[in-house]
Point group: C2
Chain length 458, copies 2
């Protein structure tokens, strides 16, 4: 048998030319989004004021199994993709495990994460529709960076509402976004009604993704030629991110491998949904039955401790209602360093799959996550993002179980990004000042009490 290389890069010919839409193979679809005014299901046209048309279509399209990737987007992908599938030989050795560990590394681009995969698609469709500006929010800053790159490429002005605590913690992220001509506003801000309302309730709030979303949506719907784009949670984003899983599966086939366990970190679900897509397809269609594991922070445990309920996607309650695992749109997570995993909800697609038993979920504490991150960095020479390190933690735990049972399982995890802009977090882990935050049951009950009341539904 040929030795499996450390890194496998597909050739351009082997790269996917279509995205895969998980919904086409789901036995039961996610419940429809509801209009918060009348609780009626949202129609595609209802989304046109918020999203550009093609993206609104992708959001609602539960039928089309494979969507052609426009050639312009394929060309952009070729600038930084394929991302490598890496065999973690050194990690395996250090763990003394019989498991074979693979990871798909999405961090080798300037946005530092997988977010560019959807950013370029959303900017492309906006340009095609002739839109003149876009708004978005960003937490850790990876999405904002990715979208700024994409908008700069297409010459579309972009306003980024950045969660205030990240804005302050990560000045260098700001600078990268500005390098790509993005305008950044710390959120909550006084530039929107939503922001002003939140500031009035709590002038010292450090912000949240939900709150930044409210501001970005408000700005989009009140500005001519402007639309809103989002880097996670949405069906369209999972569609674009399926390129991660499709590339991974092709690469594993070339190595004659198939994962027993697929692991991804889960904030809004974009990376996890993309990575698992073709493997979940196998599971849904009975071709294979890999375990699929979502890993979330114990400080923001939407899957493991949230409710499966209709909720707003934002804190300011301006978006449609989605049925998903949620901690309540008023839930403000503690200052965990994984800024990308601070969202109160979870992709409706993933929520439904989890609810129906196709996926597992675990919650991990951040000191354990950083322990895994540092260990991984020393073995594999890649400094991982705090978000990605949640997946590393779970992968290491599974590999250690294999050592104990002697099973040579094949583990695939998503390494979504690099931690270069998270060095404050690393420093706080290294100097021992990092804390773990776990919401109490009372905290959660209080947030659940705010879930919208929908006659006849919840």
């Amino acid at each position: 048998m040929t030795k499996i290389p450390h890194r496998l890069y597909l050739t351009e010919d082997q790269m996917p030319k279509q995205w895969y839409n998980l919904r086409a193979d789901m036995k039961e679809l996610p419940d429809p989004m509801l209009n918060p005014a009348d609780f009626r299901p949202v129609k595609e046209e209802d989304l046109y004021p918020i999203f550009c048309k093609e993206l609104a279509h992708q959001e609602m399209d539960n039928e089309t199994r494979y969507v052609d990737i426009p050639e312009e987007i394929q060309d952009f992908y070729k600038m930084y993709r394929p991302s490598p599938l890496i065999r973690a030989y050194n990690l395996e050795k250090a763990l003394d495990t019989p498991a074979r560990i693979y990871y798909k590394f999405e961090g080798n681009n300037t946005s530092g994460s997988h977010k560019l995969n959807s950013a370029i698609a959303q900017a492309y469709y906006a340009k095609k529709q002739g839109l003149t500006s876009l708004t978005t929010e960003t937490g850790a800053g990876q999405w904002g960076t990715a979208l700024a790159e994409a908008c700069s490429y297409y010459g579309i002005p972009l306003t980024v509402y950045m969660v205030k605590c990240s804005y302050e913690q990560k000045p260098f992220r700001k600078a990268v976004i500005q390098t790509f001509d993005g305008e950044i506003i710390p959120s909550p801000s006084t530039t929107t009604n939503a922001g002003r309302a939140i500031l009035e309730k709590g002038p010292h709030t450090t912000g949240s993704l939900g709150c930044a979303i409210s501001e970005a949506v408000e700005k989009a719907v009140t500005t001519e030629g402007c639309r809103y784009v989002l880097g996670s949670v949405l069906n369209q984003v999972l569609l674009h991110q399926s390129i991660i899983g499709l590339e991974s599966k092709t690469a594993m086939e070339l190595l004659d491998e198939y994962p027993d366990i697929v692991i991804g970190c889960a904030g809004g679900g974009s990376n996890l949904g993309g990575l698992i897509a073709p493997f979940m397809q196998d599971k849904l269609t009975g071709k294979a039955s890999p375990r699929i594991v979502a890993v979330e922070p114990a400080s923001c445990p939407s899957l493991t401790r949230g409710r499966y309920a209709y909720d707003f996607c934002d804190t300011g309650k301006v978006t449609p209602l989605a049925r998903m695992y949620t901690l309540g749109c008023g839930f403000i997570p503690s200052a965990n360093h994984a800024g990308g995993l601070r969202y109160h909800g979870m992709s409706p697609i993933l929520s439904k799959l989890y609810h129906d038993g196709y996926m597992e979920a675990v919650a991990v504490e951040q000191t354990k996550v950083f322990e895994a991150a540092v260990f991984f960095a020393k073995q594999e020479t890649i400094l991982p993002a705090p978000e990605s390190s949640h997946a590393i933690r779970a992968a290491i735990d599974e590999a250690v179980k294999c050592r104990e049972t002697g099973e040579a399982k094949t583990i695939l995890f998503g390494l979504t990004g690099t931690g270069y802009f998270d060095m404050n977090a690393y420093s706080s882990y290294l100097d021992g000042t990092m804390k773990d935050y776990i919401p109490t049951d009372e905290d959660l009950e209080k947030a659940f009490a705010e879930l919208p009341k929908i006659p006849g539904i919840q």
Copy 2:
């Protein structure tokens, strides 16, 4: 003809198994290093107190054309190499140039640069010799990060003397080095005689590479089982870095391409020497005659305005004397943001080749460099390091010349690293506060006056 892919990665089988030693093909060798005490040529054994034995041997070996890369180092290389050879399609389009532009991108590893190529080699030989600790200096922090990664991999304690201005400007670099267990001391420090002497002369100095070298060397020679390692300038480093050029040449051969112009930034010369090695071999042996261009900052113009003379490699005057292009070991460059290009001298190999007419050199001002960096980032989605952006500047200038003359030249440049830790510099460019620094002739004359007097030689 097959379309040339955006990114070409060699397979593991295609990766070089030997480094190439330029000296074996030079018509005239660089002048020997001299002992500063008696001005006699240094012998291999004289270097044993400073360098580990195998590296001292490599330093002095002018004969062996190809040096086997130990299998352990090849295995480590496979964790982050091969680096891609990228066709800059978008940059070409934006410049409307008939030139074909390629770049070899060395930034896709956690050290953020090509420095890891030599760091892992030096740590390996130190481990093999049973050394118990290492010291080094770092300017921008890329070398320190790379060596910390390598030392952590082999479990060798490392002390890094970091140029004080970088230590203060780049706290995140520190944190990365600490993540890999490196101890960091801002230089000049009170931990060495050299540091104390420099502080006495100027208590507010922001330091220099030359000064940090003095401290690291002193610490190494006064500590049992400890040796010093250096990330540039030395012959051994150029040997290890030849992997950049060897991979590039193989990749270009697969594309049926050969560069008319090879461009690299030049600080101490490690990247430039590595990138050009096999192309310079062709030039030395009459097989081809590519133009080879070194690009240096106008603030530290060792090749374009320095003297070809014997000088100390450090500010504290503890190292052997090397004949090289130098600004004088007392020259402290102004606070240019390309921390990796602040060295007073230049690799003796490159100095000799330049002196003998095999290479050209240009000096560029930093605002022009950052202008090129931002332009490049927007076209190619990679945020380049300030050092690397010197090469980008020159490549763009050459491509623009091609537009004017209509010549479809093939340009290859080295993109040594990423700029994630240089966002202060980007911010200062973007907000218009960045200045250009050009030493006056008087500044240089003053520094030249300090060149060592060597009876019968200079």
